[in-house]
């Protein structure tokens, strides 16, 4: 880059040392290596040797034990790049009204956070990744790269809602790790939206350690151009009567590449537990590569594990029906994609994440999206968010 480096992202991208994260998003059970589905690698800038913030802003040690789906190598890298971490504790039997915000963007490219939701408490956490849409970028380790890591512990009876929005831009890389530990009767409801970014890895692991713990994970994505999305979900069901419901729905356009790994691990002792996985992929591009690895690992008799995956395109019959209603094939594809953005906007709990969705959508669908979004419910004023 010839221009003066002014933003933290630019400085990170121009670091003299690069680093390869070789085994990002590795699932617990791997398969044939020739399928190239066992992991993904990223060329990223190396952390600056002079960073010291992490020494003073470390998370409580207990949070470091929380597994994230991204893998220890990548999470450690994010932690070093973030040069510090934010810790939030939600007191017992309280409801935190303002979402905890973990946000990265061009000006603040890395973040690491830990949240403990004490017994009987509830909270909403928003993880947002955005970027300036349309700016030129480079590739590989010099590509603008952002990353965030969030680890959450839910104590007995606690509940957490996590909304994760990745609305990065063309030419950018993003790595995102989330780990959730749920104790007895705790629950985690996670909504993930992958809306943009040249190369994005999202890893999430949920550990249902206590009896009757529950996780519900909804993943929605739109991948276009030659972008790559790599997702790894791992649910460890250890306690009795635990339940997990994972669903992923997305649209793949142009020459997009997507890898989705979902693992339900029914561990010995998790009697009467149930795990469900469901994926539905709409393939709309001639150059699409879609890889799916839905895995169930079962070490217990008295459990139920189910998964299903459907991969396909809009049928000719459906297209004919829609055509007679005045919709072309490209209109239909746009409708499906737009629906995911609308869903993301509806679930974005605060202004930063909403703006991330709007910016990304506007770059794709035009100003109409922003106008419609502005005409929606009034934005709230977020005065107490954590960064």
């Amino acid at each position: 880059m010839a221009a003066e480096k002014s933003t933290p992202m630019d400085r990170a991208a121009s670091a003299s040392d690069a680093l390869t994260l070789s085994h990002v998003n590795t699932p617990p059970a791997q398969t044939w290596n020739y399928l190239r589905i066992n992991d993904v690698s990223f060329d990223v800038p190396a952390p600056s040797p002079s960073s010291t913030g992490a020494a003073f802003n470390r998370l409580p040690q207990i949070l470091s034990k929380v597994e994230t789906g991204l893998g220890d190598e990548a999470v450690d890298w994010v932690g070093r790049m973030a040069d510090g971490a934010t810790y939030v504790e939600v007191p017992a039997h309280t409801r935190r009204e303002e979402p905890v915000l973990v946000a990265v963007d061009d000006g603040h490219p890395f973040a690491s956070a830990g949240v403990i939701v004490r017994e009987g408490a509830s909270a909403t956490i928003c993880v947002s990744a955005s970027a300036t849409q349309g700016s030129p970028t480079e590739k590989g380790a010099s590509a603008p790269t952002t990353g965030s890591a969030l680890r959450v512990i839910c104590e007995r009876g606690a509940s957490v809602e996590i909304v994760e929005i990745v609305a990065s831009a063309a030419g950018r890389q993003h790595l995102e790790a989330i780990g959730v530990d749920c104790a007895e009767h705790a629950s985690a409801v996670v909504r993930q939206y992958a809306l943009g970014g040249a190369k994005v890895a999202m890893g999430l692991a949920a550990n249902l350690a206590g009896s009757s713990a529950h996780v519900e994970l909804t993943n929605r994505y739109v991948v276009r151009n030659a972008d790559l999305l790599d997702v790894n979900h791992v649910v460890r069901q250890r306690g009795r009567n635990t339940t997990s419901d994972l669903s992923a729905t997305g649209v793949l356009l142009d020459d997009a590449t997507k890898t989705m790994r979902e693992t339900i691990d029914l561990i010995h002792g998790a009697k009467n537990s149930r795990g469900n996985e469901l994926e539905c992929v709409l393939v709309c591009g001639d150059g699409v590569t879609n890889k799916t690895l839905p895995t169930i690992l079962c070490d217990e008799e008295d459990v139920q594990g189910n998964h299903g995956a459907t991969i396909g395109t809009i049928s000719p019959e459906q297209l004919a029906y829609l055509a007679c209603r005045g919709l072309s094939e490209s209109d239909v594809e746009a409708l499906f994609s737009r629906a995911i953005f609308d869903d993301a906007l509806a679930h974005a709990p605060e202004a930063t994440s909403r703006q991330a969705v709007v910016s990304r959508a506007t770059s794709i669908f035009g100003d109409a999206f922003a106008e419609e979004a502005a005409a929606g419910p009034a934005a709230t004023t977020d005065t107490n968010v954590e960064r």
Partner: protein, 494 residues
């Protein structure tokens, strides 16, 4: 096919069924393990020719010389040996093969019996072996031809005249290599579908292969009765490395059945066979296997089929034996409108770690694949269903469905499903579903509300679970499979 008067006259006589319910100390039904007493008998190796344990070029040369092979085959063997030593097993997936030491395995054991076409010409102990396994009887009643392999050599090979007159070739690979008419054909196809670089034990196979069958079915010929090869590994601390090569020419139709067994020893035995199947335009091939190796066997077998336009490949697979198994029959749907059906069941009991499944590559347009598998785990058995569906960029309108159901019969066993899908064509449709669990109490309640006893209900559920596989087999083999499963479902489970 001749009418079957006696449904128990098949491979292996059935054991008299118990009429009394048996329950364990928790009041749960006792589900018998696979009944192996029929197979756990040994014969003396006295007088046999047995090559030294281990793998050296000298042993490979000796095997080749014994068969008087063409030079190209020896060169291939030596290259394969070199490749074997260079390759590694994958470190990040698959069961452990600790306990398998090739330095303690003899790769060639020969009973020194000439290949016979009449059972009366087969040495008594070998003949007795196959009599006990029901092979001659099955041949008389329901097969078009039989090849019987004992350790490293084919000891019996025969085909009905009425099949041979249509030009069907069913012989050993060794005999085909010595035949000027068929040697070029073998050379053209041998090792092309399963290259030696495929994996470490494919390389081993090509270094020391011995025995197996060569089958050619001419254009338009339908072989009404199945051909069968049966592999018996009697020798302790030995390996069996048969190679099966089948070419079903345009418009032809064949059902090929493969069976295998071995007595159990405390030493490891190894099976690293290879099956290459070529199904030409408009042809159909059904390949049925009942695998019943003993629990000291390491079964690293490779099977692959290439299917041309408008042709059909059917796999029926029952896996009941082995200590460790790596088994993934693969179908390449190369031609447009080619189809593949895979139906399989795997039963993993104590000390078994069975990693089985299938692979399908859909390359042609309008290809379809259907995979239905079942697995049962008990007594600490480890079952892994591993599959891959790969849809190529030009596989327009390809369709694939995969269904995997796993039944856990206790809480000390394990069942994993690891299905991978790689879809690169926008007009393809791929679906997958899998379930893991135990017998549903709701299902039992429903059946009981219709008048079944609890024992009957549970028996129906489990027998029905295995039925999709057994119904695909000829009746005698379905009987054998049910004997192998030998499920006695009376009383309550869980």
């Amino acid at each position: 096919m001749a009418d079957i008067k006696d449904t128990t006259a098949g491979l292996g006589a059935s054991q008299p069924a118990s009429t009394e319910p048996r329950v364990d100390e928790k009041g749960r039904s006792v589900v018998d393990d696979v009944n192996r007493s029929l197979y756990d008998f040994t014969k003396s190796e006295e007088g046999y020719e047995r090559y030294a344990d281990g793998l050296t070029p000298e042993i490979v040369r000796a095997i080749s010389a014994k068969k008087s092979e063409p030079e190209w085959m020896l060169e291939m063997r030596l290259k394969a040996l070199e490749t074997y030593h260079e390759m590694e097993m994958p470190a990040n997936w698959g069961p452990s093969i600790d306990g398998l030491d090739l330095n303690n395995i003899s790769t060639f054991v020969s009973p020194k019996a000439k290949q016979a076409r009449d059972w009366n010409d087969v040495p008594d102990d070998i003949k007795d072996t196959f009599e006990r396994l029901g092979i001659p009887q099955a041949e008389r009643e329901s097969l078009a031809g039989v090849g019987a392999q004992y350790d490293s050599e084919i000891v019996y090979h025969n085909m009905r005249e009425e099949v041979a007159k249509y030009g069907v070739v069913y012989t050993t690979i060794e005999d085909a290599l010595l035949d000027p008419e068929w040697e070029p054909v073998v050379r053209e196809y041998f090792g092309t579908l399963i290259p030696m670089l495929d994996h470490k034990f494919a390389a081993l196979h090509y270094a020391v292969w011995s025995g197996g069958s060569f089958v050619y079915v001419p254009k338009g010929v339908t072989v009404e009765y199945p051909l069968q090869s049966y592999f018996r590994l009697n020798a302790q601390g030995a390996g069996q490395f048969e190679h099966t090569l089948i070419i079903v020419d345009e418009g032809a139709d064949l059902h090929f059945i493969e069976g295998c067994s071995a007595p159990k020893y405390y030493d490891a035995n190894l099976h690293a066979g290879a099956v290459e199947l070529f199904v030409k335009d408009g042809a159909r091939l059904r390949y049925s296997t009942i695998e019943n190796w003993s629990k000291n066997m390491f079964n690293l077998n490779t099977k692959r089929a290439r299917v041309a336009s408008d042709a059909r490949m059917e796999w029926v697979s029952g896996s009941f034996g082995s200590h460790v198994s790596y088994l993934y029959p693969t179908t390449i749907l190369k031609g447009d409108r080619s189809t593949c059906d895979f139906t399989g069941i795997t039963f993993a009991g104590a000390t078994q770690d069975l990693d089985t499944g299938c692979k399908v590559v859909l390359s042609g347009a309008d290809t379809t694949a259907s995979v239905e598998t079942k697995s049962i785990s008990k007594d600490g058995g480890l079952n892994t269903f591993r599959s891959s569906i790969v849809v190529g960029r030009h596989a327009e309108r390809a369709r694939a469905t995969v269904s995997c159901q796993s039944l856990m019969l206790d809480d000390i066993s394990r069942s994993d499903t690891i299905p991978a899908m790689d879809v690169r064509c926008a007009t393809a449709q791929v679906g997958h579903e899998a379930t893991i669990g135990r017998i549903s109490d709701d299902t039992i309640l429903y059946l009981m509300s219709r008048g079944c006893s609890e024992a009957e209900a549970r028996s129906m559920v489990v027998n029905g679970f295995a039925n999709p596989v057994s119904k695909e087999l000829p009746l005698e083999y379905a009987v054998e499979m049910n004997n192998l499963i030998k499920l006695e479902m009376e009383g309550a489970i869980g």
